[in-house]
């Protein structure tokens, strides 16, 4: 084995991120590392490269017990990492980038540019890349930049190249070029750790796969012995027992009027052709693997990103929003996926975070009506069971579940007709999860239309009245309630529609 990581554990301020995870890679092997957001992939990589220090476990690299103190130390030993956003200096030339931080010098201690150029051109030639090494890196396409980064790794005598979602910004032709490069690396005995989530690509290029979930490595296998369905099942887990199916009325859903209808929506490369409907008083699920375009679809509906093709109808009327404010005016709310990045205003109080969207309606001559604000906040804190010291506590001090409740209340107090909720229970403990799902159910029963984006099977199965499955920016299946089952969802997600 080139690399053997065993029983790796790591916790951040008491919260466990890795629990005895393991990873083994042989020389000249391409290993796939897959898992959902938060499964622990990047923590594992960062421990390997020395960006984090492990709490326990062993790492053998080339049969030597190692503990890298910094990423620089692992690089010196032959572990190179190519990140999604490639860490090259875009304004500097190709040759300069390849030799960055270990430039050849002349006898006088000056840069030996001639040696740099010749060396850079030679290594790029081994990858069939014939480019002007004096051009700035920023001039080239994403695929070429990636190959430059790989070439740099090779000149550093890398034995293991870690690629973090290398294909996420590449088109099909560029992916082919990258795969040729990976095959060249293999022939030279270099191992590749390939982190990705496009199944077809994984099956094309990888020899073996390691699957992570909830900080643990749940399966290792040769790629050929792991059917797609099985792989998805391992990734998403199936702890159905943890949830009770949430009671639903058994009326005829198809008779309810359609409130939101998205047809053939497209924007950029992430959303190509998505159709989704949400009826009055139902929870419509939006499923799909990471990168399938779920969040992006929500952003289009809410007017954050531009709708480039297709149509969005609200109650039958075609709408096109330039800004979220327009969507809000039409009675739409969006609870976003990442609370920290685009949900909470960390330093503001619970009271203010909760009423931010309602603020324009809370004013008398431009001044915030404090009494009404207080009344609404008190009501929702009680209704949703937000645990806090006082409404004036900064929201950043709350737990994830309570922050999520505040953000949910932010929209509920605007009395919306459509609520889009992206990963409603991300980063929330199991008890609060069921509570939030039940809450959504009750709201739907009162007539709210909910579009629930989720990557947790059990959540979709427990709460959704219908699930639309996305794959690679396209809606590939719609499962009605009577068709909903774990198997059906999994096979649609693995894109094996029978």
């Amino acid at each position: 084995m080139l690399l053997s990581m065993q029983d790796i554990s790591k916790a951040f301020s008491g919260v466990s991120a890795l629990r005895s995870a393991s990873l083994e890679i042989a020389a000249g092997e391409v290993m796939a590392l897959v898992g959902q957001n938060g499964a622990g992939k990047s923590t594992l990589i960062k421990i390997l490269t020395g960006a984090y220090q492990r709490d326990s476990g062993t790492i053998l690299f080339e049969d030597e017990d190692v503990a890298f103190a910094t990423p620089g130390a692992s690089q010196a030993k032959g572990i190179a990492t190519i990140y999604q956003e490639i860490n090259l200096a875009p304004q500097r030339s190709v040759a300069e980038n390849i030799y960055l931080s270990r430039e050849p010098k002349t006898a006088l201690g000056l840069l030996d540019r001639r040696a740099m150029r010749a060396g850079a051109a030679a290594v790029l030639k081994t990858f069939n890349l014939d480019i002007d090494v004096d051009m700035p890196v920023g001039h080239f396409s994403a695929a070429t930049r990636q190959m430059i980064a790989i070439a740099r790794a090779v000149t550093q005598k890398a034995r293991l190249v870690i690629m973090d979602e290398p294909t996420s910004s590449l088109d099909e032709r560029e992916v082919d070029i990258l795969f040729q490069t990976i095959r060249t690396l293999k022939r030279n005995g270099v191992a590749v750790l390939f982190i990705g989530h496009r199944l077809d690509e994984l099956y094309e290029i990888c020899d073996r796969v390691t699957i992570m979930r909830d900080g643990q490595t749940v399966a290792h296998s040769a790629m050929a012995d792991m059917p797609k369905m099985e792989l998805v099942r391992h990734m998403l887990g199936k702890e159905l027992a943890a949830f009770q199916a949430i009671a639903r009325d058994t009326g005829d859903d198809e008779a309810k009027p359609v409130r939101l209808a998205v047809e053939g929506a497209g924007s950029g490369v992430r959303v190509r052709d998505v159709s989704v409907t949400v009826r009055e008083g139902e929870i419509s699920g939006l499923a799909g693997l990471l990168g399938s375009g779920r969040t992006e679809t929500a952003r289009i509906i809410f007017g954050v990103d531009k709708l480039e093709k297709g149509s969005i109808r609200i109650d039958g009327k075609e709408r096109r929003y330039g800004e979220p404010a327009d969507a809000i005016a039409d009675g739409i709310g969006l609870v976003s996926e990442d609370r920290k990045i685009d949900g909470i205003i960390p330093d503001m109080s619970i009271r203010e975070n909760m009423t931010l969207a309602l603020l324009p309606k809370l004013k008398k001559a431009g001044i915030v009506d404090r009494a009404r604000q207080q009344e609404i906040v008190t009501r929702y804190i009680k209704a949703l069971g937000v645990k806090c010291a006082s409404p004036d506590q900064p929201i950043k001090e709350l737990s994830g579940g309570n922050q999520q409740k505040v953000l949910l209340a932010r929209w509920l107090c605007t009395d919306p007709r459509i609520l889009i909720i992206d990963e409603p229970t991300r980063g929330i403990d199991i008890g609060a999860k069921a509570e939030i799902l039940k809450l959504l159910r009750n709201l739907a029963d009162e007539g709210l239309s909910v579009l629930m984006i989720s990557s947790e099977l059990e959540e979709l199965l427990a709460a959704a009245d219908r699930v639309t499955v996305l794959s690679d920016g396209r809606s590939v299946a719609v499962l009605k309630r009577n068709e909903l089952s774990e198997t059906a969802l999994l096979s649609a997600m693995a894109h094996q529609v029978n």
Binding site: F12, I345, E352, A357, P360, G366
Partner: protein, 332 residues
């Protein structure tokens, strides 16, 4: 998540509380300390004369710094305030001296010489806002444009000549007194109180803080981020304009080269010392006022005790470093 503090919890809490205490009351404590120091050391400190000098000198800094606080609260910065002061300060005398408008009535001219220059620099503030919001130029670069060009405009308008005048009606804003209080001090108080209420009690005020606190999240709650940002640059422009009028009125002369020179730095310093985060999301108007007072008192203390103005600049720089350092610690 990534930083791991290894110190014992109790020790850490104590350190944090000290930093938080300093960040909350440090400016006030510094102000009190400076007052005490002066009472003991500086001769004749306790006199109407001293109070008058300090209040009239600090008024323009406070007025401009209040606008700066709003801009900084959105995560921006306005370098053009000094140059906008020069524009307003040169436009006003040109109006009441009849160089610009064919109006004979002195009363109307005086009124216009208050209103038009301020409207003019508000337009320039709007221009700043447009550069920042529509063209997504970083605020420090966007406002650098008028920092450079604004003073140029004022100089070209006057051919670089000094405008000297004596006009008691216009100069009332700097020379006049209401109930014994200098008019500019009253303006300062009104501006500070209004801004404080704006931030605390109005929708736009809370939206300013939200935009600075997390712009992405603010946009997703329907806050018109561009409009909010443009608004603060316009307000900053208007307040710079008022300060420009006060400065020329006080000097009985308008020199495009000198009006508001270096004011952007005093204003930023007042905001920083006053405890508003330079990264946005917080606007402490009372802090800014205190910050301006501290800076003014430091300068006065050093001057009154025979230390040259140049040395005062170094002390000012030291104050800013301490203020920013305390902010960083309090955040941790």
């Amino acid at each position: 998540m990534t930083t791991i503090d290894t110190s014992a919890p109790g020790e850490r809490a104590a350190r944090l509380n000290m930093a938080q205490f300093l960040s909350r009351y440090g400016t006030f404590a510094a102000f009190i300390l400076l007052l005490l120091f002066n009472l003991i050391v500086t001769p004749n400190f306790l006199s109407w004369q001293t109070l008058n000098v300090n209040l009239t000198q600090v008024a323009t800094i406070v007025i401009v710094a209040v606008g700066m606080t709003l801009v900084i609260a959105t995560g921006g910065i306005d370098l053009s305030v000094g140059s906008l002061m020069a524009i307003a300060g040169t436009a006003a005398p040109m109006i009441f001296m009849g160089k610009l408008l064919p109006i004979e009535n002195m009363g109307i001219l005086i009124i216009l010489s208050f209103i038009l220059p301020v409207l003019l620099v508000m337009a320039f503030g709007w221009f700043n806002g447009m550069l920042v919001t529509r063209f997504s130029i970083q605020p420090i670069i966007a406002t650098l444009v008028l920092f450079i060009a604004g003073r140029g405009i004022a100089q070209v308008a006057t051919n670089g000549n000094l405008q000297v005048f004596k006009n008691p009606e216009f100069q009332f804003i700097a020379m006049g007194r209401i109930a014994g209080i200098p008019a500019q001090v009253i303006i300062m108080i009104i501006v500070a109180v209004l801004a404080h209420c704006l931030i605390r009690y109005t929708v736009i005020g809370r939206q300013i803080i939200a935009v600075g606190g997390n712009e992405k999240a603010a946009r997703l709650t329907g806050i018109p981020v561009r409009r909010v940002k443009t608004f603060v640059y316009i307000v900053s422009g208007a307040l710079a304009g008022i300060a420009g009028l006060i400065v020329v009125a006080r000097n009985s002369a308008s020199d495009a080269n000198l009006v508001g020179l270096g004011m952007e730095l005093d204003a930023i310093a007042a905001v920083a010392v006053g405890g508003s985060l330079l990264s946005g999301g917080r606007a402490n108007i009372i802090g800014t006022v205190l910050g301006a007072f501290v800076i003014q008192l430091v300068r006065y203390t050093l001057l009154a005790n025979g230390v040259p103005d140049a040395a005062a600049l170094i002390v000012k720089a030291g104050l800013i470093i301490i203020a920013v350092f305390i902010q960083q610690r309090a955040k941790g």
